[in-house]
């Protein structure tokens, strides 16, 4: 089968198309013919071994997200059948419950092989069925970006109608967070560097928006939006540069979902604001399969439309990655196998 893999050594130069033998499903396993993949910011860091210090070995098939069709099942498989369209779970071993080291580290796209392959062989426990109305390139966006947003907004979010949410940016996680927060009846503010992206976010349901290029002191500008009350929940995707402002506009007792490190990887902020206002900073790293399945039911009920910015061909993986790096996108970048 055809794969993309990082081989011989780490680094983008070593990310190449290659051929591997077709896998065969063992007992309890399923074989998927992959239809599409989708990129996350994490995928840009893996080739240079930059994300954490995971003990990945080479060669490694990159990219965490995708969708495929079950083409063969091993003995004893009951969760899915041939012909089902499924997404692989990012965390292959996290079915439900609290995270632990093992549940958090068996992840696709490094250290485990990812979705840039014609075929994937996985445990039946590591896949989730996809609603029929979604296209392949839409379905491929769900395992990391959508589930991260779901975990932040639903599993840990404590949101309710009337809650005030601030979402940073208009990337993949940000737009899913916007969409899920709206399904929950919350009031959502988006910050973005582009008026055009803001206009599109409003079409997706954003109730308010601030251009942080023209309004660098965006935290101050939110006071009018929240009536001085502050946000119940902020989806913190910027990291180092956004955190100090986020702490100024979250309400006492509110929560920051710590997800992204786009503007820098150090937590640096006045600790007093966290302590005296009893703020919660909740790290979010994708989520478990129970959450994935609950999200799929919600998506199916509401026929939610994932926002796909551009679709690249399988061979154009590196161009797709460069486009993601540019930050020009609105929503997700997918790859058709």
């Amino acid at each position: 089968m055809r794969v993309f893999q990082i081989q011989d050594d780490w680094g983008m130069d070593h990310l190449q198309v290659a051929t591997r033998p077709d896998p065969k499903p063992g007992p309890g396993q399923v074989l998927l013919r992959m239809k599409a993949a989708s990129l996350n910011y994490r995928d840009l860091l893996v080739p240079s071994r930059g994300y954490g210090s995971f003990t990945g070995k080479l060669p490694l098939i990159p990219i965490s997200d995708g969708v495929g069709e079950v083409v063969e099942v091993g003995t004893g498989v009951t969760r899915v059948k041939v012909g089902d369209r499924v997404c692989p779970c990012f965390h292959q071993g996290w079915i439900a419950g609290a995270p632990d080291l093992e549940r958090l580290t068996q992840t696709l796209g490094g250290p485990l092989d990812g979705t840039m392959a014609d075929l994937m062989c996985l445990s039946e426990g590591g896949v989730v069925k996809v609603p029929a109305y979604l296209s392949d390139v839409e379905a491929a966006t769900l395992p990391c970006a959508a589930l991260t947003a779901w975990s932040a907004m639903v599993t840990y979010g404590e949101l309710r109608p009337g809650s005030r949410v601030l979402v940073q940016g208009t990337g993949g996680v940000a737009l899913f967070a916007l969409q899920f927060a709206k399904l929950l009846g919350a009031h959502v503010t988006i910050i973005s560097s582009s008026d055009e992206k803001i206009a599109r976010a409003k079409q997706l349901g954003a109730d308010a928006a601030i251009n942080y290029t023209t309004t660098p002191e965006w935290a101050r500008a939110t006071r009018e939006i929240t009536g001085g009350r502050g946000y119940d929940h902020i989806v913190e995707l910027g990291g180092e540069k956004t955190l100090p402002q986020s702490l100024r506009c979250v309400r006492p007792g509110g929560t920051l979902s710590m997800i992204g490190v786009l503007s820098g990887g150090m937590l640096a902020a006045p600790l007093g604001l966290v302590v005296t206002r009893q703020v919660r900073l909740q790290g979010i790293t994708v989520g478990h399969r129970d959450g994935f399945e609950a999200m799929m039911r919600a998506i199916d009920q509401h026929q939610l439309q994932p926002v796909v910015d551009r679709v690249f061909a399988f061979e154009a993986l590196k161009e797709a990655m460069a486009y993601l790096k540019s930050g020009a996108h609105f929503g997700k970048i997918s790859i058709r196998h």
Copy 2:
């Protein structure tokens, strides 16, 4: 009545004994004859207006914690009666539920007058009855230090028998956290700069201890204690200098209670550890009256002994504060009126 107050201007020099007219309880209010007070780290910052930017006005009676006897009640009072011994609540307006700005900012010892007065006049809703077995200097330690520890360990702690907890230091909050975690059946590790304090903490129930002076890389040293699993909960009292090590020894999915800023007031740590290990940082600022009353029932049931290091006379407030600042204490420093 005799009071200590910060008058004319901010600063320790302006903290002086003075006289005020005796207050009279209005409808719904109670008058307390104060028996004892107790110091917290916050009390050291208030005279120089250093803790947050609260809008306190002068003159201000300092010190948040204390205990008194009800000597007169206004019309309509039903929660307490003359002769009851009660602690004032630090948060005078936070009865229960989630915090908000108003609930968090109506606090004794600044901006509201504190406990260094012969008499205090408070709303009947702002006091809590004290178990009979406690001495006055013991009871005086409960409103801030004990309730902060209770909120961290019980209200937000999600502890259970078998949980692993790490507590930093042996000050007032630290020892209450140790005692409450033990009541909950948790396994508790203490870090301290002194072998003598460690020995005393073990007598109070600590299961393990590390001297961070002789073992500066204490996070590494905990691996053996937790079997490599990490702590479920860390009571983060050090702040700037301890946080990076805390993030290395908390388990994936674990919680840090953010309480103290003893070693510096900036949150500064690698954000990736928070995100990829799904750690929660939970700011804690004392707690509500429902929690205070629940804590009192627990304390009474278990006849828990607050650890009082030294007792000073009312006039010796400044000496007591200097002693707190020295860090030589083990547990609480109280003042007898």
Copy 3:
């Protein structure tokens, strides 16, 4: 002032119009000129002293729900000002947190005087501001019926987009439960005895409906709706006759909100279904003020329209009660002062 009151003895015959002196607000109190009231099933039981064994004394002004305008405030009042339109809280003493006997028993319309009076004098802590867009007869429906539904669906509901909810009937609580569940993104089934009411419930957002007169085995009929999975949450308003069927169509691990006793007041069902399927039965009795205020924010954000079936004049209280008893209504029955 003009009032309706139960006087001399219990019983509907003793419910009469009468005159009382105008009250004056004391310190911390507010005086309301009442604009409208609204009926609940509980109000039918109070005149015959039938609901619980509360120690109400006569004369008693009945009816729990209403809305009024603040026309005077006592000294020290800060939560509201003259001219504000507010709803009295059903539970006058429950601000937040877990219920206790005192919080649950200080209730309007018995044992405390209710809303059928020209003027009400209450603690400032016992009222909540009303969104401007609501009419008086709409606002009057909120304190019991809407807050009960909010507590069931939001405070205790653990609902999320994709959750499946079943609501019994189309009375006041039922329709608010439907509306709140839809705001949360849930999938909602209604059961009703009337096709016409079903048609109206669908206009309010119901996703599915069953006529339990033509389909007495309605629990069996839900299997198709839930794909055999069962309901995550059932708003149990019928009581004795509906409970056995509810237990058959709730999912394992699901919740029944126990609210109503319309079809009989005995809990009677096979215990094994509760135990082996780990079902939760959660009693719901209105809710606290924090919930009321959160609900008001949600209602205001979504400009939610309470469903008012009919409006009666103040003098027509008994006709309004008879109409409620008939069960012909769809939504709430209000009274204009």
Copy 4:
């Protein structure tokens, strides 16, 4: 291998010793040499097919609880190794998270084969390691009785130091509930029909006790114990006859863990007490593997001693069952293989 099995037809007469071929572990499976088993009330109902309407097929090896040593592992097994001593999980498919039909119905001792066999072959995911200090007959008591008590007291219990708990009886679940509630710092009342059992329960930590034979109105008698406040949590093991009294002595907002049906299988009680006092009835059916492992860590930390009343030989299964049925036991009845 030697087994006990229900064969040919349902009924105690058809429960007999028989021989089956030794099983071999497939991929991901482990083979256990069973050391001990232990009885639950459920085991008395299975032979007559009385517990629920599960679709068990014959022949069926009965009894849910036991312990064994891993004597062989299939390919790919990583959770355990040969020589480990493990308990099988009652729910073979419930690792963590909320229950669903599949997770609740794959249970040992019917419909799946149980522990009365020399050898058991299970998925590696269906076993949990046992603390070394426990004897085999002690360890065998843990999978159902202890985990049910843990789920009631810890997972769903919301207990804290100072909580008041009432436990019904002195059977297996009851004594584990007592022990876990004490580990959590709660105050525990036991009701029992025997003064001798009460004396033994007090040795295990019970703070108060009532003999319900000599004090049939035990609910009234608890008022003094709880100071009129009621119980935060009642472990409801009696069922039909105890429920009405439990509802009278649980506090408003309190919880009943619905576990047992010893005195009758119908839920029959005044619904009004549940609604107006906002009581929660929480069905409990054993628990998930995450809970089992957390419980094992707690048991190991505290070197908790399961209470084993009598130990029978493998061949004496029927005598052991008759003894359980008699109700004369205090704690658990185990069987040595």
